[in-house]
Symmetry: C2
Subunit: 480 residues, 2 copies
C-alpha cells in the first residue's frame, strides 16, 4: 500500500527496527567518529546548524527547484502530480534513508477560464470589472453570469438581522482583516470565516451568489483565493473574492445607493483523484522507531507559485534533513519529513497520514509544521502541555542567538493537527508575520518574494529544535 | 542663514522660546483637553501609537510620494534638489510648526554613461561583460578604458605581501561579506573597507584600477555601488563594483590562470554644489528649547530609488511627527526631524548641522536615526552610557508587545554621530536585517521591496521611543 523508494538501505519495516541492535549496521550509527559526550553543548550544535545554513544552506535551491518544476500544485492537478515526483526525487538526492509515496484521495477542482465580477449599476460604473478570483471549490455560475443586486454584510449578526433582504441578491461580505491586531494570523483568523462559511450562510438566506473582500493584510489589487465550503442540503452558490482595493471601491458605492453586479465563474469539479503524501525518513541511531515529524504541505493554489504557501515550508522541511546529514548530526530518533497533499482544500493527506500511521502515533514524539511562510524566524507556537512546553523552551533557547528562541502556546499546523488527538505534542514554526497575508493565495506568491537569507534562517531554526527533540535522551512528554 | 518656512505660528527663535510661558499661547499647549495624569500609562500610549500606525499609518504614502517625486537623490543632482523641495512641502502638509532649509555644501559627482568591466583574457571568456557599477566618487578611466592583468587580493595583509606584483595591474578585492555573521551590519562592516579604502591602497602599490566584489549579502547579478575615497598625494585610479555572481565567476577564472580585463568608466566631478538639510520642528509644550532629533538621510544613490536606503528612514521620521500630531500626543520637548543631505558621499549635511547648531547641542537631549531600511522593527542600538541606557530600556519596554523593545549598545547613525562629541545620547533604529544588504545601493532598492506593514511598524516603534524621551519629566542623562 505504501509506494516505497529505498535509497541507502534494504527494506526494513519500522516496527522491526526496534528489535535490531545498532551494532548490526542495519541502522546507521555515528560511523567512525569518536562518541560524543552526552551533554554536548546544545548551543554549540545550534550555532553549527545556523552557521551551516547561512553559509551553504540549500533551502532556497529546494524552493526554486520546486516552483520551477511545479509552479501550480492544486490537488488533483498535473502540477500536483509533478510536485509529488519532484519531492520524491529531491528527498532521494538529499539522501533520506527511505522515501515513500503514501496514497490519499483528493478533490480535483479547476478554476476554469472565466472569472468576472462586473458592476452593472449604478450607471456611472456600469461595465467596471473588479479584480477577482473564484474561491476554491466554488460551483460555476450559469453561462453569462448571475446578475443581481448587492447586499453588503459585515457580520453574521447583520446577516441574521437582514436575512429577509437577502433572497435573490449577491451577498458581499466586507468585514476587513483587522490590521490593528499585532498578529496577522489573528487578523486572518478573524476574517477568514467569511470565505469558508459565506457561501453556505448566504445561500441559507436565499442569496444567489457571494463576493467577499479578500482576506488580506495589504490594500492592493491582487485578489486572494482560498477554499470555500458547501453543506449538503444548502444550495451551492458561486463565490469569489475581490481585491481589497476593489472592496474599498465597492464599499463606497454601496454606501451611496443600490449597486448591482454580474458574477460569472466557470469553475469545474472533476470528482476525486488519487494523489500522495511524500514521506522521507532519516532513521534514528538509537530509537529509530520513535519519530519526529517535520511537516509542510506540497499542494498549493493555482495562482502564483505558492512560494511562501507552502513552498517555503517544503524547503524548510527538506533542508532540516539535509543540514543534519551535512553536519553529521543524525539524531537518536527518526526525523520524518511529511510533505502533505491537499492542505488547501480538504486535508485529505493529513487525514490519510493519521489514519495509516495510527498504530505508530504513540511513537510520534513530536510533530512540527512550517506553513506560515519563509520569513525571518521568530520562534514557535505549540499545543504542548506544561511539561513539554518547558522542555521545548529549554531546547529552543539556543535560538535566542538569532532571536528565534521563543516558544508559546498557540496554533500549530492544519496537517499535523490531525495527530493532536493521539497526544502528540505539536508545534508550528512562527516566522515574522508582517508580509505573509499580503502574498498568501495570490498571483504575487512567487519566488522573488522570498529572501534567501530569511529562508535559510528559518530552516536552521527548525533544524535546531527538531534535532534537539529527536536527539534528547528522553522523549518529549506527551499531551494528555 | 537658515531658510525658514513657518507654517502655523509667527517667527519665534528657539532660544527665545524658553522664556515664553506656555500660557501666552505662542507655544502650542494641549488645547482644550483635560490635563492628563503625569503617570499616564506608557504602555497605553505605545499601544495607541502602534494601533494608529497599523490602521491608518501614512509612512508608505510618504515613501511612495518621495520616490515618485525624486527617485534619484545623489547629492548635488537635480533629483536631490527635488527631494529637498518635496520634504519641505511634505513637512508643511503634515503640520510641523516650523520647516527650514538649512544650507550645506555638497560634492557633485555623476556616474556618466559608460561603466564596463569586460574580460579580455583568457581567450575563452574574451568579451564577456561583468555586471558593474562605478563606485561613487570614482575618477573616470581614459576613453576606451584601462586594460590590464587582474590580481585578486583577499586581505590588506595579502596586498602588503604581494605589493611588488601590483604595479600596472587592476586589483580585484574579493573578500566576501561574511554571511555566517548573525548581524548583516557586521557582515557589511567586515567587507566595506575594500570599497572605501581599496582605491587608495591599491594605488599606493602602483595599481591602475580597482574592481571589488559587491559588498552584499545576496548572490545575484545586481552590482552594489557606494562611496570610495581618495587621498591627497596618492594617484586616483578608477574603481567599480561587480555583482557577487560576477565575482564568483571571476574568482573561478583567477584560480585557473591569468585573467585580464578592461575597466571603462566615464564618471564626472562637478565640484561642490549648494544643498540643504530639511529640518522640521514639532515644538514642545513645556520645554521647547530641549530637542529630540529624529534623523534620516534624504540623499541616496543614483541607481534604484533608495526606497530602503534611506527613503524608509525619511518616511519613518516624518511619520513620527504625523502620528504624534494625529494622536494629540505633542510632547513636552521639541521633536525635530532632520532629513540630512549627503550621508552617502560626504556627510556634509551632518557636519553642517552639528556646526550650525553647536550652541544648542547641549539642549539636544537625544537623537535617533533610521538608516537600516524599512523592515520589521526589532529594537534600537545606542551609544548611551549606563544611566541613559537603563532609561531607554525602560522607555522602549512597551514595544515588547510588538517584539521591538530591545535596546542594546551599538552603532547609531552616520549623520547623528556628528553630535556624539557633544554628549548627546544617540540611538539607531534597528529593524530586521536579513534583506537590507540584498538591496542596498542597487537598482533593486525600489518601493516594491518595502512592505507597508513593516514600514508602519517601524514608524510606530520610533514614535513610541521618541515620544517617551521627549515627554519624560527629566531629560535623558547625557553621555560624558
Ligand atoms: Zn499553507
Ligand atoms: Zn543610508
Amino acid at each position: 500500500m505504501l509506494h516505497s523508494t529505498r535509497t541507502r538501505r534494504a527494506a526494513v519495516l519500522v516496527p522491526i527496527l526496534a528489535l535490531i541492535p545498532v551494532a548490526t549496521g542495519l541502522v546507521p550509527d555515528r560511523g567512525a567518529q569518536p562518541p560524543e559526550p552526552a551533554n554536548r553543548d546544545a548551543s554549540e550544535v545550534a550555532a553549527r546548524i545556523v552557521t551551516a545554513s547561512l553559509l551553504d544552506g540549500q533551502a532556497y535551491d529546494h524552493l526554486a527547484s520546486l516552483v520551477a518544476a511545479a509552479p501550480h500544485r492544486l490537488s488533483g492537478s498535473p502540477g500536483a502530480a509533478a510536485a509529488v515526483e519532484w519531492a520524491r526525487k529531491r528527498m532521494t538526492k538529499i539522501g533520506f534513508d527511505e522515501v515513500r509515496l503514501e496514497p490519499c484521495t483528493v478533490p480535483h477542482w479547476e478554476r476554469g477560464e472565466v472569472q468576472s465580477v462586473r458592476l452593472t449599476a449604478p450607471a456611472s460604473v456600469t461595465g467596471v470589472e473588479l479584480r477577482c478570483l473564484a474561491l476554491g471549490g466554488s460551483v460555476p455560475s450559469p453561462e453569462g453570469g448571475i446578475e443581481a443586486e448587492v447586499i453588503a454584510i459585515s457580520s453574521w449578526d447583520e446577516l441574521a438581522q437582514r436575512s429577509a433582504d437577502v433572497a435573490g441578491k449577491i451577498v458581499y461580505f466586507n468585514r476587513p482583516f483587522d490590521l490593528a491586531l499585532r498578529s496577522t494570523f489573528e487578523g486572518y483568523g478573524g476574517a477568514v470565516d467569511q470565505r469558508s462559511r459565506g457561501a453556505v450562510e448566504a445561500a441559507k438566506a436565499g442569496a444567489v451568489g457571494v463576493v467577499i473582500r479578500s482576506v488580506a493584510s495589504a490594500i492592493d489589487d491582487f485578489p486572494h483565493t482560498g477554499g470555500t465550503n458547501y453543506q449538503d442540503g444548502v444550495t451551492r452558490i458561486p463565490a469569489a473574492a475581490i481585491s481589497t482595493l476593489a472592496a474599498e471601491r465597492l464599499d463606497a458605492l454601496v454606501a451611496r445607493g443600490p449597486v448591482r453586479l454580474n458574477l460569472e465563474l466557470d469553475c469545474r469539479w472533476h470528482g476525486d483523484a488519487p494523489s500522495f503524501n511524500v514521506v522521507g525518513d532519516l532513521l534514528g541511531t538509537e530509537s529509530p522507531e520513535e519519530i519526529v515529524v517535520v511537516g509542510a504541505h506540497l499542494d498549493g493554489w493555482d495562482v502564483g507559485h505558492g512560494a511562501h504557501d507552502d513552498g517555503s515550508g517544503c524547503a524548510h522541511a527538506l533542508e532540516v534533513v539535509r543540514l543534519l546529514l551535512d553536519l553529521d548530526l543524525r539524531p537518536r530518533r527518526t526525523v520524518r519529513v511529511v510533505l502533505f497533499m491537499n492542505e488547501e482544500n480538504g486535508l485529505a493527506g493529513a487525514r490519510a497520514y493519521a489514519r495509516d500511521h495510527a498504530d505508530e502515533l504513540d511513537r510520534h514524539v513530536f510533530a512540527i509544521e512550517s506553513d506560515r511562510g519563509g520569513f525571518t524566524p521568530r520562534g514557535f507556537s505549540t499545543n504542548a502541555g506544561d511539561e513539554a512546553l518547558a522542555v521545548l523552551r529549554e531546547l529552543a533557547a539556543p535560538l535566542d542567538e538569532i532571536d528565534a528562541g521563543s516558544v508559546d502556546p498557540g496554533g500549530t499546523g492544519a496537517d499535523i493537527s490531525q495527530m493532536a488527538a493521539s497526544g502528540v505534542p505539536l508545534a508550528g514554526f512562527l516566522p515574522d508575520g508582517a508580509r505573509y497575508f499580503a502574498y498568501h493565495h495570490t498571483e504575487n506568491d512567487t519566488l522573488d518574494k522570498v529572501s534567501e537569507r530569511e529562508l535559510r534562517l528559518g530552516a536552521a531554526a527548525i533544524a535546531v529544535l527538531v534535532h534537539a527533540v529527536a536527539d534528547r535522551e528522553q522523549p518529549l512528554p506527551r499531551n494528555r
